[in-house]
Symmetry: C2
DNA sequence: GAAGAAAGGTTGTTGCTACAACAAAACTCT
DNA sequence: AGAGTTTTGTTGTAGCAACAACCTTTCTTC
């Protein structure tokens, strides 16, 4: 019960902390920032919508709306996938890249200041392990953490 | 970075898991359930709006909207506080109590199945500690976990 | 090779949350 | 006691997310 209450509290509080800093300093929601960040790390800064939905752990419907808004703001562009006529590719524009680069330092500082700096090295390690155990149930496919699994089996 | 990605993933995934089960089985959002649960544990099943906002870690504005909707559904009732004419008390109705009692078992089972059962006893302990360390920054006043602090100082 | 199922996306609607503006009661200070 | 400030709460608005309906293309199967 103690552990559960703490987990609930964190889940309820953290999004607000992330959103408000990014919205204030960069005009982006955390989810928008995350979408741009995933694209920025992808091959050719391009991903298919489905792949992007996986990495951001969102539904295709949600992502479609968000990407349309990002496209309206010139941060992303969409074009049909050459290999599969059903699919759509999303690519980061130069302006989108600039936006990520501009937003990243403040975001990282915020994360450090409000989260990681409060933990000891040992606790960070424990958080990683406990996180893996939780995600084994919440995200069996490991879609979101696929990018960073040092001890991959 | 590994720890951070996992934390993000959990924060993004958990609300959906909680919301969808409760909405499907009880017609309540997780936040609504949490509000009702806090009232159900309070003295006389009554709390002032400000106190309820603290315990649920929400703003007064958000809570005001939610309580109005719950009142429309007959689960909660509001009445002016006798001791302070500015304040409003929210009280769980009989129907609200029944709703909590009906929803609780499924919710608890969901939490166990999707979260706690995946962790060892040692990991639950670690989660509690790491959670405290995180909340020291996110919620310095400890408003949300005030209800359950076995080793209170 | 045609019918049906699955994959891949988009769009419209509804409901909730954040933000800001507002109002009333209660302190504070002289 | 009166002016200003703080506390307590409500309401209106705008924006985002969940859900469902829909469309197109690809795969499967006979």
């Amino acid at each position: 019960m103690a552990a559960w209450l703490r987990l609930i509290a964190i889940v309820e509080l953290l999004p607000g902390v992330l959103d408000s800093q990014l919205r204030r300093d960069a005009g982006l929601s955390h989810f928008e920032y995350f979408v741009l960040a995933m694209l920025s790390e992808a091959e050719a800064r391009t991903l298919r919508m489905t792949a992007l939905a996986h990495r951001t752990n969102s539904t295709l419907a949600r992502l479609s709306h968000v990407v349309r808004r990002l496209e309206d703001r010139g941060l992303v562009e969409r074009f049909p996938c050459p290999e599969d006529a059903r699919a759509t590719n999303a690519r980061l524009t130069a302006a989108g890249w600039d936006a990520v680069v501009a937003a990243a330092p403040g975001h990282v500082a915020n994360v450090r200041g409000n989260v990681l700096d409060g933990l000891s090295a040992e606790q960070v390690r424990q958080l990683t392990e406990v996180g893996d155990a939780l995600l084994a149930r919440l995200d069996p496919k490991g879609a979101m953490t696929a990018l960073y699994r040092p001890e991959d089996a």
